[in-house]
């Protein structure tokens, strides 16, 4: 069955038009990273960015297709509606668009956006055409959390817009009241789950849009003030988590979901659009990320809280954050419905290290760990390093999807996940990977059964690394930006060119750009990566000497095990299949990890309450009391 998430590229194809006219911020110089101190100026610049998006999108010329000399699309309509331009044209275009309705949440929320923006602009005939489509076209609910957030937010708002109508007036035969109640019930339980057990599709490079946009619509247009407040809390919650996970605007690993391109070129994801529009410190991606158009159409209804802005922009020092997340729902072949994800982040000014504990934490697109370094301009730069076991399994897919294993492995590869069943892939989790992170040290161990489809591990070495040196000590040294990197393969390896994966929409990705794969064909295996700021050492040679001097012992039989002292002086022992031992104490993730714990975000498990702090600023989001409270701490 092909009812799967649209890939990033596919989303672009649906939501955005190839930029025929230059996008000022996408094509322009790097934005300033300076903190904007004044609230009024921050707001003004935020609104300016919104206007840039809408003006650009509204000005795009119509491009004839083979079947339609004047195609219409909802992104253009919503942009013009938000700008209050071309009322007559918008109505005509809406009527034309509604003649052939789409079939699911990616169609629903843009239409809801137009329906609300157009309440006082669209003609009665145009509004009726929207209403009729929601009567006649059965909508697909989808099978992922982002699908359902979009679906139920959209259905909630349309039921809110057309109250009191009978089941015959809706595509699913349920009345306005029934649809509103069902939508609210699901949205509330999703919010509850996310704020007690943890978010499912956490820190996604692309799918942040599929949460931020429908939630902003709910926060703006819901008639029920409680629903508006709940949605507002969730926007802040997601944006604060996002802000604390970015490195100068771009989101790095670990990610619940990424894609073959974003996992390398860390900036090139819809998430960067949200950094740009909310914080302003990194460029937006092409076409404003496609879905970014819809956020821009409603974004003036949201004010980025200063405390969140400063977490993204104004850190002032290194920090470590531990967050608890969860997997998607596991339908079968698992003892638990949701598996916990223990996430660790260590972020400095010039690089960031992020990970979770490894394992089968998603079926396809999870990115388990990486070191990402900062660069002056991230566009086109593959500023990251990591390793993984390329795992492909029908049974693993079945854990998370209602699917047959054999056709589904083939199916995902043409549904926007082209690398899924490929030996050289650099995206995805493996049940045979165990990861431990201590500040800027990562130890990834692998114990791969002999009958596994791809019996090797892949380490990613970017085209943008400098001074890659295979040292006789066994370490591989490299420099990325102002970050020194030491990569220690625990077994023999060979180098392969990494060419990437072409898609229908981005064929040039399959042509290779100089990236390499360190492929190690050993079932008992491991990787150690130690990062450090170049400024910490006299020169690269001094860094290398420090790494060589680190006490390190490892063995691969019977299972991989590493005992080492990290560059930060931590004594760690990691043995595959066992809990890590740190400075003599065994790490118990289940007892140790809170929902959020760090200098900026703190929440207890089960609390529904997030405390966001930066300096003296504090914002408390509380779903129990439906309050958002700000205060200045003494």
């Amino acid at each position: 069955m092909n009812l799967r998430s649209l890939s990033c590229a596919a989303l672009l194809s649906l939501a955005a038009i190839v930029p025929l006219r230059a996008q000022p911020s996408f094509a322009g110089p790097m934005p300033s990273r300076a903190v904007v101190e004044g609230a009024d100026q921050r707001r003004r610049e935020y609104l300016d960015r919104i206007h840039e998006v809408l003006a650009w999108r509204a000005a795009q010329p119509v491009v004839p297709t083979a079947t339609d000399p004047a195609p219409v699309d909802m992104a253009a309509i919503c942009s013009r509606l938000a700008l209050r331009q071309d009322a007559a044209r918008n109505s005509r275009d809406v009527i034309k668009y509604m003649q052939d309705p789409g079939s699911g949440p990616f169609w629903m929320f843009p239409v809801v956006c137009a329906a609300y923006l157009g309440r006082d602009q669209l003609t009665p005939e145009a509004q009726k055409s929207i209403r009729d489509a929601w009567r006649s076209q059965m909508q697909v609910r989808g099978d992922t959390e982002n699908h359902w957030v979009m679906y139920y937010s959209s259905l909630y708002l349309m039921s809110d817009l057309y109250p009191g109508e009978p089941g015959t007036a809706w595509y699913n035969g349920k009345s306005s009241t029934e649809n509103l109640n069902e939508s609210q019930e699901w949205l509330l339980q999703w919010m509850d789950l996310s704020t007690t057990v943890g978010q499912g599709e956490f820190n996604p490079t692309h799918y942040i849009g599929e949460y931020m946009i429908p939630l902003t619509m709910l926060a703006t247009w819901s008639k029920d003030p409680a629903m508006r407040q709940r949605a507002h809390i969730m926007i802040d919650w997601i944006l604060a988590d996002f802000a604390s996970n970015t490195l100068h605007g771009y989101l790095r690993g670990a990610n619940s979901r990424s894609d073959d391109n974003s996992v390398l070129e860390r900036w090139n994801a819809l998430s960067s659009f949200f950094s740009w529009i909310c914080f302003g410190q990194t460029p937006p991606t092409a076409g404003y990320g496609g879905w970014g158009i819809y956020y821009a159409a409603i974004a003036e209804n949201y004010t980025v809280p200063e405390v969140i802005y400063r977490i993204a922009m104004d850190r002032g020092g290194d920090f470590e954050q531990h967050n608890l997340k969860r997997t998607r729902r596991r339908w079968r072949y698992s003892d638990v419905l949701f598996a916990p994800v223990y996430k660790t982040d260590y972020i400095r000014d010039t690089y960031a290290v992020g990970s979770n504990q490894g394992g089968a934490l998603d079926s396809i697109q999870a990115h388990i760990w990486d070191v990402t370094w900062d660069v002056p301009d991230p566009r086109g730069v593959h500023n990251t390093m990591f390793s993984l076991h390329p795992y492909s399994s029908g049974a693993a897919l079945q854990m998370y999807f209602v699917a047959y294993p054999e056709p589904w492995i083939k199916g995902v590869t043409f549904e926007g996940k082209p690398s899924y069943d490929s030996a050289d892939k650099i995206l995805g989790p493996s049940p045979y990977e165990q990861v431990y992170q201590n500040l800027d040290t990562v130890i990834a161990l692998y114990d791969i059964p002999p009958d596994t489809r791809f019996p090797h591990i892949n380490g990613f070495f970017s085209k943008d690394l400098k001074n890659v040196t295979e040292d006789k000590s066994g370490w591989i040294f490299a420099q990325g930006g102002q970050t020194f990197l030491a990569y220690r393969p625990l077994a023999g390896y060979e180098w392969q060119e990494y060419v990437g994966y072409a898609t229908l929409w981005v064929p040039e990705r399959g042509k290779g750009k100089g990236d390499r794969i360190l492929q190690s064909p050993h079932l008992k295996n491991g990787t150690i990566v130690q990062a450090a700021a170049a400024s910490e050492f006299k020169d690269f040679a001094a860094f290398q000497a420090a790494i060589r001097a680190l006490p390190l012992e490892f063995k691969l039989e019977p299972v991989p095990t590493v005992t080492m002292t990290t560059l930060r002086g931590q004594q760690v022992t990691v043995t595959y299949g066992q809990a890590p031992v740190v400075n003599g104490a065994t790490l118990d993730y289940a007892k140790t990890w809170k929902l959020f714990e760090g200098p900026y975000l703190n929440a207890e498990k089960g609390s529904r309450r997030l405390v966001i702090t930066h300096g003296k600023l504090e914002r408390i989001l509380d779903l129990n009391t439906l309050t958002i409270s700000d205060q200045i701490r003494e």
């Binding site: 998430s5 079939s103 359902w148 069902e182 339908w331 003892d335 049974a395 047959y404 054999e406």
Partner: protein, 332 residues
């Protein structure tokens, strides 16, 4: 004997030329590259076979209708297991209503108790849901099912015993004798049971398709089950079908072996793939209960038919289709 009389006798004796007693509905998607959000460019949902072996859509164009069951008292009353839950129609699918709420998603199997057609059973990814009021309301009925491992792919009612239903779960074949008040495992598995069928000739004979144990059979009304030995490597079996016109003929579908048939009641099996695409990948098979004609859907390919029980195949229609179920419904 005069030729016209011979012809008349032949026609009367040959099911191929008799008026079909069943309608064939497909639960299918023929929109090959469909992903959520894309436009529906082709036919999806429930399709009805026409007299010239073409298929026309019935009801809504929806790319996630997996199974269909029709009320034997009134063929306009139909229940569909879909991506969005259960669609119920009472007017032959001119209109329909989703009668489940958000907590029921992606059911892939649905059946009703022919002794009590108001009672409808639903196989869902997180267990079994039952309606006792013609699909108006639904409740979970899971006593006896494992807490984990209750992923359910298929439910099949025993046509000879009221309240008796078999369910194919991740953890095995389960049965209830009391309308889902209690379930018990009659055949444990470690991988999912994907199809369960009762013989139209002998109600004590059952076949089930499994992902891990191949084809399994019960000769005692489902109390005990045994693996069916074939000469093929053990592969996931996708579905199985009896031939209502011939008790010795059986067929199952498999990804690697394609169409596999038996003409001696399951003692020996033969792959029957001449005329089908070389890579096998047969997703569903069925036997027309009126004619014995064999149907096979090759995944994302076509529907193929065979009038000689698989010895030769004819490409029929529905390019790019996935057929989730061939559903033969008695005409009334």
């Amino acid at each position: 004997m005069p030729l016209p009389r011979l012809l008349a006798l032949f026609l009367a004796a040959t099911p191929l030329f008799a008026a079909p007693a069943h309608d064939l509905y497909l639960c299918a998607t023929a929109n090959k590259d469909y992903i959520v959000g894309a436009k529906l460019n082709t036919m999806n949902g429930v399709l009805l076979r026409g007299p010239d072996d073409t298929y026309e859509p019935v009801g809504t164009n929806f790319p996630g209708i997996y199974d269909l069951v029709v009320d034997p008292r009134d063929s306009r009353v139909r229940y569909m297991a879909t991506l969005n839950g259960v669609f119920v129609t009472t007017d032959g699918d001119r209109t329909r209503r989703v009668t489940t709420d958000w907590s029921v998603t992606e059911p892939h199997g649905i059946c009703l108790d022919s002794h009590n057609p108001d009672c409808v059973y639903l196989a869902t990814p997180d267990g079994i849901v039952v309606s006792t009021d013609r699909g108006a309301t639904w409740a979970r009925r899971e006593t006896g099912l494992p807490e984990r491992g209750k992923y359910t792919q298929v439910v099949t009612a025993d046509r000879t015993k009221a309240g008796r239903v078999f369910a194919g779960l991740e953890k095995g074949i389960f049965v209830t004798d009391d309308g889902a008040a209690h379930w018990r495992c009659v055949f444990p598995t470690v991988r999912t049971v994907v199809d369960i069928r009762q013989s139209p000739h002998d109600p004590s004979l059952w076949l089930a398709a499994t992902e891990g144990d191949g084809l399994v059979r019960s000769r005692d009304g489902g109390l005990t089950w045994e693996k069916v030995t074939t000469s093929f490597p053990e592969q996931p079996v996708y579905n199985v079908s009896f031939d209502a016109t011939n008790p010795r003929r059986l067929v199952f579908s498999s990804w690697m072996n394609g169409v596999c048939t038996s003409e001696d009641g399951g003692t020996t099996w033969t792959t029957r793939n001449i005329g089908l695409p070389a890579d096998g990948h047969v997703f569903r098979v069925a036997v027309d209960p009126d004619t014995g004609r064999l149907y096979a859907n090759v995944h994302h390919n076509f529907i193929y038919t065979s009038t000689d029980f698989g010895r030769t195949w004819l490409k029929q229609s529905l390019a790019g289709a996935i057929v989730y179920n061939f559903v033969f419904v008695p005409k009334n």
